[in-house]
Symmetry: C2
Subunit: 418 residues, 2 copies
């Protein structure tokens, strides 16, 4: 079958499945999630075998060690994917919830009922565990999903989806709820992005290149997950011991993720006391510092930052440091170079804490806490499908609720409009 | 200046204005709204003069009477636009609201703060009062707006915006918060749709052609406001007197709007008793009935409905009627021919009322009330900027809250991630 026709049919089947899923009860959905978890563990030998094919191909194509590592499935990873599905089963079902019903002067009772979005198109790169996470979150929130994984993981992903679909059908739900595009062609992405009759939302997850490509070529609404150039601003009113712990954690605990700190902004009043021990500790942990001219005056032996450093997402043990004269300058820097992802202020000053929270235009803004908390689990949403840096519909980590919308429900007793 | 450059500059100015508006307090915004209202009334003579130019041009181009009527400003209409602005000033400011703050196990206090979207592109057709409504709602919600009105209203709209901008500046807010594209070229719409660097959301309001054009040509997210093919389903358990009042109201009270009933679905058990007096009453009010074969058997002298009738938005005194064997058949019909806009069930049966509310996938679903209540004012949102039939971000009437999003705010005491 030509790819055009195949993907069009997948869209139609997903739409039909979504109509059944929309009204599926929690018991059936949770049963499916638990059967999915069991099946993954039960058939791990088969999964590892299929994964082996991808790994061999990857080595043949000369993929880097890091890329091969991301692609690799292990018994432990399969256990943890299964565990993830069990956790999603334990989360409350968002569908059908009405947070509040209010009465209008004419007696109409008006509420908003949470409902699934419909069909999600999810486009991602190498890690096969993302396949399982996305399938679980979409199913629980009552949405059908069409997955387009990285071409290098095609055998692993096809095996995973085959197993998940059997479990979904065993639970009495439509197997077409989770479909994987069985093609490694880039063209498949374009074809998916044209299914505006059948797909309600596209979520891309991966490098900036992928996300830009999707955003520019989609006829369907896209929730973008761009880079995180996250800042910590150490205010003049900071508890410097706390500032040191938080900055160290934000940079070093896991430098390769989007909520790690990339630039540290330090008020000039505290910079002379704060920067030398901070830079020493970071350097000992292997962090390369790139400083503004004032930083270089305060700490010896630091490399000078280039203009391009301020907008760089290093995803590595590198940190740019800028000394600022005021919180205004710090916020101005964030507005110019930031990515609306995550920013934190360290301060004991009440007014500046509140002002920073209100003025900084990022998906997560924190006071006296590490940027690493921008994460669905950490903020109490349960599992997340990604972190949106688009403002529309969802801004920040997206959990089950963000995969739904609301419709108005109105209880009347014969009201007419006059 | 070439149109490309002009519209690009408008985008940049709107973005700058939105950064100031984002943190503008309620007092300033409400002062601006009240000054805008006063200025419109104070300068009504000038407005009527400019409107006269549009009316003369319209007559010269042979516009229909209805179109000329929509275009016409009167003293009374200007008063009512001013009144609308006063009402928006009285609505609570959505910006800065945090509905709930919860504590995580590590002590982090997490909430979601409501914030403006940024810059709205609003594309609409003839009525000049929409210019004022949109400006008021965007300003109050802290958003800058770029307006593209109908070409036939260009003089009226330019005069309106000139007056509004002066009032906004008098209140100490940036006049670039409200800009009108001073061009009647269709190309201006395309140029606006390309400003994805500066515009966060496009809202088109008008006929189906305009909305489709915008949706297909925009690089910016679009909240669509498609047609309303609204249904009332008269269940076998309906109170037939109530059903008659509601159906009459839904069809006749204002047939030319998107929440008027276009198709009436009647359960076969009650059709013989319900349809003859209902059809008689509707016919007396000038409504043309187009019935399914079963309807024709029950009521004499009714025209036969064609297949195309079931998906038609008449916006007129025409009603299609179908007799169904069950609620399942009614919901199936709505899924096939409906527009996810507004549907109502008339029933005294508890289970079917709840099932209809849960299964019908429309922006507003009602029990025992007229479809005419799908309206921001009627549902308690205050004024509305339109009715979204897209599910993403907002589904149903859009008021001030729907012109905002939320960011996470996190109050910590030194928490780091382990």
């Amino acid at each position: 079958m030509p790819l055009e026709e195949l993907i069009h049919q997948m869209g139609e089947r997903a739409k039909k499945a979504s109509q059944l899923l929309r009204t599926a009860g929690r018991t059936k959905k949770d049963t499916a999630l638990r059967l999915m978890a069991k099946a993954l563990v039960h058939r791990s030998a088969q999964l590892l075998e299929e994964n082996q094919k991808d790994l061999e191909a990857a080595r043949g194509q000369g993929l880097t060690g890091a890329m091969v590592e991301r692609l690799t499935l292990t018994e432990a990873l399969i256990q943890s994917m299964a565990q993830g599905l069990e956790e999603v089963a334990m989360l409350p079902d968002p569908v059908g919830e009405i947070a509040r019903i209010y009465k209008r002067p004419n007696g109409l009772m008006v509420g908003r009922m949470r409902i699934p979005l419909g069909v999600i198109g999810f486009i991602y790169e190498s890690r096969p565990n993302v396949t399982v996470d996305a399938a679980g979150l979409c199913l629980k929130s009552g949405n059908a999903v069409i997955l387009k994984g990285g071409s290098e993981a095609i055998n692993s992903n096809m095996a995973l989806v085959r197993i998940l679909v059997e479990a979904i059908e065993e639970a009495g739900l439509p197997g077409e709820a989770v479909q994987l595009i069985p093609s490694t062609e880039r063209r498949a992405v374009n074809l998916l992005l044209e299914l505006d009759q059948h797909v309600d939302l596209i979520i891309p997850r991966g490098g900036e290149g992928l996300i830009r490509f999707v955003a520019e070529n989609s006829r369907i609404p896209v929730l973008k997950h761009y880079k995180g150039v996250c800042h910590v601003y150490v205010d003049e009113g900071a508890d410097l011991a706390m500032a040191e712990e938080i900055c160290f954690n934000a940079k070093v605990q896991r430098p390769g993720v989007c909520n790690a700190m990339e630039t540290m902004l330090v008020h000039e009043k505290v910079a002379p006391g704060f920067l030398p021990p901070m830079v020493e500790r970071l350097s000992e942990a292997g962090v390369e510092i790139r400083g503004c001219p004032k930083t270089l005056q305060i700490v010896e032996g630091v490399k000078a930052a280039q203009e391009s450093d301020w907008s760089e997402e290093y995803l590595d043990l590198i940190l740019s440091v800028k000394v600022v004269a005021s919180m205004d300058e710090a916020i101005g820097h964030i507005e110019t170079y930031g990515s609306n992802h995550t920013e934190s202020i360290i301060t004991e000053h009440y007014g500046r804490a509140q002002e920073f929270l209100s003025r900084v235009d990022s998906s997560v803004v924190l006071v006296n806490a590490s940027t690493r908390f921008n994460d669905g689990n950490q903020l109490g949403l349960g599992a997340e499908i990604g972190i949106s840096t688009s403002k529309l519909h969802a801004f920040g980590p997206m959990g089950l609720q963000e995969l739904t919308t609301t419709k108005f429900v109105v209880y009347g007793q014969g009201q007419i409009r006059t």
